[in-house]
C-alpha cells in the first residue's frame, strides 16, 4: 500500500503522513524525487529516526517518536504548523481511517462505547488539505465493508476525501460513488464488489496496480 501511495508523490511535494501505514510511504519515495515531510507538532523536513548516539528528547514527530531533521528543515510552533495545514499549504496528506463513504466523509477517531482518546490533528488535516489519500483495509476482520454509503461512526471530516487506497483497490470518490480505478495484484473485481457496501462504479477495464 505504501508503494502505491508513493506513486502519487510529485517532486517538491510537502507531505503530511499519518501514523502507521502512511509513515512507511517515506521508504518508497522514487529515486530522483524529493518530498519534504511535515509533522504537525511543528517540524517541516522530518528525517530518519536517530541513532542511539543522536537521539534527542527535544526532537520528536507528531507520533511522539524520536526523529531527526533534514538539511533545510524548519521548526516552529503548533499554531504555525496548523496555519500551514489549515491554510492548504501541504500538498498531500495520507492518513488512516475506520470508514469512508461515497460523500467523501471520513470517520477515523471515535468508536462509541469504546474509550475515546481524541482526534489529535486529524480533523485539521482532513479539513485543510485538498489532496488526501485515505489508506485502510477494505473490510474489517469480520468482513464488514469500510467503504460505505454513509459512515456509521462519528465523522472526522465532511466531504473531504477523494482518494482511497485499500489492501484490495485504489478508488476515487466522484459524484456520490466510489469509482474503482485499480485492483491490487491478484485481486478480482468480484471480491472488491463484494466487500464494498457503498455505491461502486466499475469501469470496463480495471487495471492492476503498477508500482515504481
Amino acid at each position: 500500500m505504501a508503494m502505491r501511495v508513493a506513486r502519487e508523490l510529485q517532486d517538491g511535494f510537502y507531505v503530511n503522513l499519518g501514523i502507521g501505514i502512511p509513515t512507511l510511504v517515506a521508504n518508497f519515495v522514487p529515486d530522483g524525487m524529493e518530498v519534504m515531510l511535515q509533522s504537525e507538532n511543528g517540524l517541516l523536513g522530518m528525517g530518519e529516526f536517530p541513532t542511539d548516539e543522536t537521539i534527542d528528547a527535544d526532537m520528536i514527530n507528531a507520533g511522539k517518536q524520536t526523529v531527526t531533521a533534514v538539511k533545510g528543515a524548519s521548526i516552529f510552533s503548533s499554531a504555525e504548523s496548523f496555519a500551514m495545514i489549515r491554510g492548504g499549504h501541504v500538498d498531500l496528506t495520507v492518513l488512516g481511517a475506520f470508514e469512508v463513504d461515497v460523500q467523501g466523509n471520513i470517520a477515523s477517531w471515535m468508536i462509541p462505547n469504546k474509550l475515546i482518546k481524541g482526534m489529535g490533528g486529524a480533523m485539521d488535516l482532513v479539513a485543510g488539505a485538498d489532496n488526501i489519500i485515505v489508506t485502510m483495509t477494505h473490510a474489517s476482520k469480520n468482513g464488514d465493508s469500510k467503504l460505505l454509503d454513509t459512515c456509521s461512526l462519528p465523522l472526522t471530516g465532511k466531504g473531504c476525501i477523494k482518494k482511497v487506497l485499500t489492501d484490495l483497490a485504489w478508488l476515487e470518490i466522484q459524484d456520490g460513488a466510489f469509482v474503482l480505478k485499480e485492483r491490487a495484484p491478484g485481486v478480482s473485481v468480484e471480491e472488491i464488489k463484494e466487500k464494498t457496501q457503498g455505491k461502486l462504479i466499475v469501469p470496463d477495464h480495471v487495471p492492476e496496480m503498477q508500482f515504481n
Partner: protein, 234 residues
Amino acid sequence: MAGFDKVVGSYEEAMAGIEDGMTIIAGGFGLCGIPENLIAEIKKRQTKELTIVSNNCGVDGFGLGVLLEDMQVKKMVSSYVGENALFEKQLLNGELEVELTPQGTLAEKMRAGGAGIPAFYTATGVGTPIAEGKEVREFNGREYLLEESIRGDFAIVKGWKADRYGNVIYRHTAQNFNPLAATAGKITVVEVEELVEVGELDPAHIHTPGIYVDRLIVGTFEKRIEKRTVTESA
C-alpha cells in the same frame, strides 16, 4: 533594571497565587517540552479542581499525569489523551471531564486568547461531534465553525534559554505549544534550562518576547522520552 527582571528565586514563588478551580494552560506535546518542575510544584501544592488546557495529559507518573494521582484535575482540554491508565479510570468513573479539541484549533485558541481575538472561524470539525452547539457559518461557499479563544489564570511554559527580561527561545520541537501558552496566561511562568545575559539572544530570533512573561526560573529537567525510536548506528 529591576522592573524587567522576571527571575524568581524558587518554584514556590514561581507558582505563588495558584488557587483551586483555576484554569492552567500548559505548553508541551506528549512529554516533549513540558514544564516538568512547574507541574511538580502544582502537585506539591495540592491545588484542586483545576481545568488544564494542554495538548496531552502526560503519562502515568510523569508530566501532567502526576496531577491525576491526587485528583487535582477537574477537566482537561486536549486533543489527545489517555496515554495513561489512571486517566482512563478517572474518565470512566466520571471523576474527570474531557473537552476534546482538534489540535490545530487548540493551538489557535491559545494564540487568539493571547492576541485579543475572542473567536475565529475554522473549517476543522464541521460535520463532526465537535461542531455540536457551535455556530456554523458560510464564507465563500464553504462552511466553518466558530471557535472561541482560551485564556488561563496561569500559563506554564518550558523554554530552553532566556534572559532576565523574559525573552525566551525554545529548542527543536520542544517549541510546540509553548510560545502560544506563553501569550495566553494572566500570569505566565516560564522555566528554562539556561539563563543567558540580556543582549545575548538575537532580537530577531526570540520566540517569546519578554512582554508575555511574568516569572522566570531556571530548572533541571529529566526530559523523559515517550516513544524511543532509533535506527541502527552506522
